[in-house]
C-alpha cells in the first residue's frame, strides 16, 4: 500500500475521532495536570501541600480519635476494602447458584436492575432504604429491637450505609459477567472430572475458578474503577455529610472546583483519582495485550 493511501485511511477513518478526543479529552487532562502545579502564576507544589494539609482528603485527627471524618481518600479506600470482595464473591456465588434455577434469568434481571438505572436514582434508593420512618432496613431491624434512625444521617454510619447500599446496586455487574463466563466453560470438562471422581467443591476450585480468571481480572478492574469514581450516589444521598463523614474524592473535587472555585486544589484531587484509576487498569491492559 502506498503512502498516500495510508494517510487517506487515517484521515478518513481515524482522524475525526482522534481530533475530538484530543481537543475535548486529552487536552483537558493535560490542562488539569498543569493547573495542579500552578499557583499564583508560579510552578509549585503548594496546591498538593494545601490539599494534604486541608484534612479534606486525609484527616489524621480522625484517625487519632478513631472517628469520622477520615478524609475523602480513606473513604474511597474503605469503600474498596468492603465493596470489592463482597460484590465479587456475591456475584460469583449468585452466577453459579442461579445457573440451573427455574426462572433464574428473571432473578438475574432483577439483580442486574441496580446496574441499569441511573446512579442518581440509586442514591435516592439508598437514602430511602435507610430512612428512619419509611426505610425497610429500619423496619427489619425493629424486629430485633433496634431503635430506628436514618442511618445515612450519622457520621459513624453514613459511609457504611452508602457502601452496603452500593453493594446492592453493583452485585449485578459481577454476576452478569461471571454468568457469561460460565457459559464459555465446556461442559465435558466437568463430565471428565466427575468420571475421575472429583467432588463438586473440588470442581469449583480446580475448574471454574481458574477458567474464570480473565473475567475476574475484568470484574476486579471495572469494580475498582467504579469505586474510585463514585460520585452520584454520594451527592444525592448524603452530599458527603454529615460533616464530611461520607465524602469521597470525586465529590471533594467537585466541591473544591465548583463550590470553592479553587481550581488548583480541585485539579490536585482529580490527578489523585486519575493516578489510582490508571494504576488499577494496568493488569487489565496487560491481559488484553497478552491475548493479541
Amino acid at each position: 500500500m502506498n503512502r498516500r493511501a495510508k494517510f487517506s485511511h487515517f484521515g478518513i477513518f481515524v482522524l475525526p475521532a482522534l481530533v475530538l478526543i484530543c481537543v475535548f479529552v486529552l487536552y483537558p487532562c493535560l490542562r488539569t495536570i498543569s493547573l495542579s502545579f500552578f499557583s499564583g502564576g508560579k510552578l509549585t507544589f503548594s496546591n498538593y501541600v494545601d490539599v494534604l494539609k486541608s484534612r479534606d482528603v486525609v484527616n489524621p485527627q480522625g484517625f487519632s480519635r478513631g472517628e469520622f471524618p477520615l478524609g475523602a481518600l480513606f473513604d474511597n479506600l474503605i469503600w474498596i476494602v468492603i465493596h470489592l470482595p463482597l460484590t465479587i464473591l456475591l456475584g460469583l456465588i449468585l452466577a453459579v447458584y442461579l445457573r440451573n434455577v427455574k426462572g433464574g434469568s428473571i432473578i438475574k434481571s432483577i439483580i442486574f436492575l441496580g446496574m441499569v438505572m441511573p446512579m442518581i436514582t440509586g442514591g435516592v434508593m439508598i437514602r430511602f432504604i435507610f430512612d428512619k420512618d419509611i426505610g425497610v432496613v429500619n423496619a427489619f431491624l425493629k424486629l430485633f429491637g433496634f431503635v430506628p434512625k436514618t442511618w445515612t444521617a450519622y457520621p459513624e454510619t453514613a459511609l457504611f450505609s452508602l457502601i452496603f447500599g452500593s453493594i446492592w446496586l453493583w452485585t449485578g455487574f459481577s454476576m452478569i459477567l461471571y454468568a457469561a463466563g460460565l457459559e464459555t466453560i465446556p461442559k465435558d470438562l466437568y463430565e471428565a472430572a466427575q468420571l475421575d471422581g472429583a467432588s463438586r467443591t473440588r470442581m469449583f476450585f480446580s475448574i471454574t475458578i481458574p477458567l474464570l480468571k480473565p473475567i475476574t481480572i475484568v470484574v476486579v478492574t471495572m469494580t475498582l474503577l467504579w469505586e474510585l469514581k463514585i460520585f452520584d450516589i454520594v451527592y444525592v444521598a448524603t452530599m458527603g455529610g454529615p460533616g464530611g463523614a461520607s465524602n469521597v474524592l470525586a465529590l471533594q473535587m467537585y466541591i473544591y472546583a465548583f463550590k470553592g472555585l479553587d481550581f488548583g486544589k480541585s485539579s490536585v484531587v482529580a490527578v489523585f483519582i486519575t493516578l489510582f484509576t490508571l494504576m488499577v487498569s494496568i493488569p487489565m491492559a496487560r491481559s488484553a495485550g497478552e491475548r493479541r
Binding site: 500500500m1 495510508k6 494517510f7 485511511h9 487515517f10 478518513i12 477513518f13 475525526p16 475521532a17 482522534l18 478526543i21 475535548f24 486529552l26 487536552y27 483537558p28 487532562c29 490542562r31 488539569t32 493547573l35 449468585l94 442461579l98 434455577v101 426462572g103 428473571i106 432473578i107 434481571s109 432483577i110 439483580i111 441499569v116 438505572m117 441511573p118 446512579m119 442518581i120 436514582t121 434508593m125 430511602f128 430512612d131 420512618d133 419509611i134 425497610v136 452478569i176 457469561a180 480473565p214 475484568v218 474510585l228 469514581k229 460520585f231 444525592v236 470525586a250 473535587m253 467537585y254 480541585s266 485539579s267 483519582i273 486519575t274 484509576t277 488499577v280 487498569s281 491492559a285 488484553a288
Partner: protein
C-alpha cells in the same frame, strides 16, 4: 430420585427468596410513589388501608419549579445525538484501527485504551473553560460535544475488537470489484456490524441519559436542566417528600429499564464485550 427433586425445590425456592430480597427496595419505591402520603406514615409495607393514586407522578411530571416533563425532553435532546454521533465516528475509527496500518497506530490505540480509565473529574474544569470560551456553556450542543468525545474511546475500543473478529475476505472481494474504501465500509462492514452497533448504542444512550456530573457542571438554567439534575432538587429542604421523590425516581429510571428490557441480549453483550477482550 425423590431426594433429588426435593433438593431441587429447596434450591429454587432459596434462589427466589434472594430475588425477592433484592427487589424489595424497588417494590418499596413503587408503593411509596403510588400511595398517598398519610398512608405511608406506618410504612409502605403496611397494607391495612390501601389507596392507589397517580398524584405523585403527575406532580413530579408537572412540578412547579423543576418539571420532569421538561427534563425528560431535555435529556432526549442531548442523549439521542450524543449516541448517534459518537457511534458513527467511533465505528469508523474502530474499523480504521482494525483494518489499516498507519504510523503510530499502536501508540494511538494504547492512548485510547488508557482513556477508558479516566474519571470525568479530570476534564471538568478545563471543559468548563473551553465551553465558556466557545459560548457553549448552558447549551445542549456543548454537552452533546463533551458526551461525544467522552464516549469515543470506549466505542472505538469496542468496535475495533468487534471488527478484528470479522474475516476480511468479503471486503477484499468488494475492493477487487473497484469499490472505494469508504464505499466498502458503508456497504459491507457497517451492515455486518449492526449487532455490535446496537450494543454500543444501548449502553451509550443509557449512560448519557444517566449522566449527572457533566450535566451538573455544564447546564444551569432552570428550564434547561436535564432529568437527572432535577431529582436532587425535588428532595425538598426541610423534609423529604418521599412520594414525590419516589415517583420522580421511577420516571427517570423507566427509560434505561425500557432500553434494557427491549435490548437485553445486546445490552449484556455490550457490557461483557466492552469490559473484556
Amino acid at each position: 430420585m425423590k431426594k433429588k427433586i426435593y433438593r431441587k425445590i429447596v434450591h429454587d425456592t432459596f434462589a427466589w427468596i434472594i430475588g425477592l430480597i433484592w427487589i424489595i427496595p424497588f417494590v418499596g419505591l413503587l408503593m411509596t410513589g403510588i400511595r398517598p402520603m398519610d398512608e405511608l406514615l406506618h410504612g409502605w409495607w403496611n397494607l391495612k388501608v390501601l389507596h392507589l393514586t397517580f398524584r405523585n407522578f403527575i406532580q413530579a411530571w408537572h412540578h412547579p419549579s423543576v418539571p420532569l416533563s421538561q427534563g425528560t425532553m431535555n435529556s432526549l435532546i442531548v442523549a439521542v445525538p450524543a449516541t448517534v454521533i459518537p457511534i458513527l465516528i467511533a465505528t469508523m475509527a474502530g474499523y480504521g484501527f482494525s483494518r489499516y496500518r498507519f504510523p503510530m497506530r499502536n501508540s494511538l490505540f494504547i492512548l485510547i485504551v488508557l482513556m477508558l480509565a479516566l474519571p470525568q473529574q479530570m476534564i471538568a474544569v478545563p471543559i468548563f473553560n473551553i465551553m465558556n470560551k466557545l459560548r457553549l456553556l448552558d447549551n445542549y450542543l456543548g454537552l452533546i460535544i463533551v458526551h461525544t468525545a467522552w464516549g469515543l474511546p470506549w466505542i472505538t475500543f469496542f468496535m475495533r475488537n468487534f471488527f478484528t473478529t470479522l474475516p476480511v475476505e468479503v471486503e477484499e472481494a468488494a475492493r477487487m470489484d473497484g469499490a472505494s474504501d469508504v464505499r466498502t465500509f458503508f456497504s459491507i462492514a457497517l451492515p455486518i456490524a449492526i449487532p455490535a452497533i446496537v450494543s454500543a448504542a444501548a449502553l451509550q444512550f443509557t449512560w448519557v441519559w444517566s449522566d449527572f456530573f457533566l450535566a451538573l457542571i455544564l447546564m444551569y438554567s432552570p428550564n434547561k436542566l436535564l432529568a437527572t439534575q432535577r431529582i436532587p432538587l425535588m428532595r425538598g429542604v426541610y423534609f423529604v417528600n418521599w412520594g414525590l421523590l419516589a415517583a420522580a425516581a421511577i420516571l427517570l429510571m423507566l427509560v434505561p429499564i425500557l432500553v434494557y428490557t427491549l435490548l437485553q441480549k445486546h445490552y449484556v453483550k455490550g457490557m461483557v464485550g466492552w469490559s473484556s477482550k
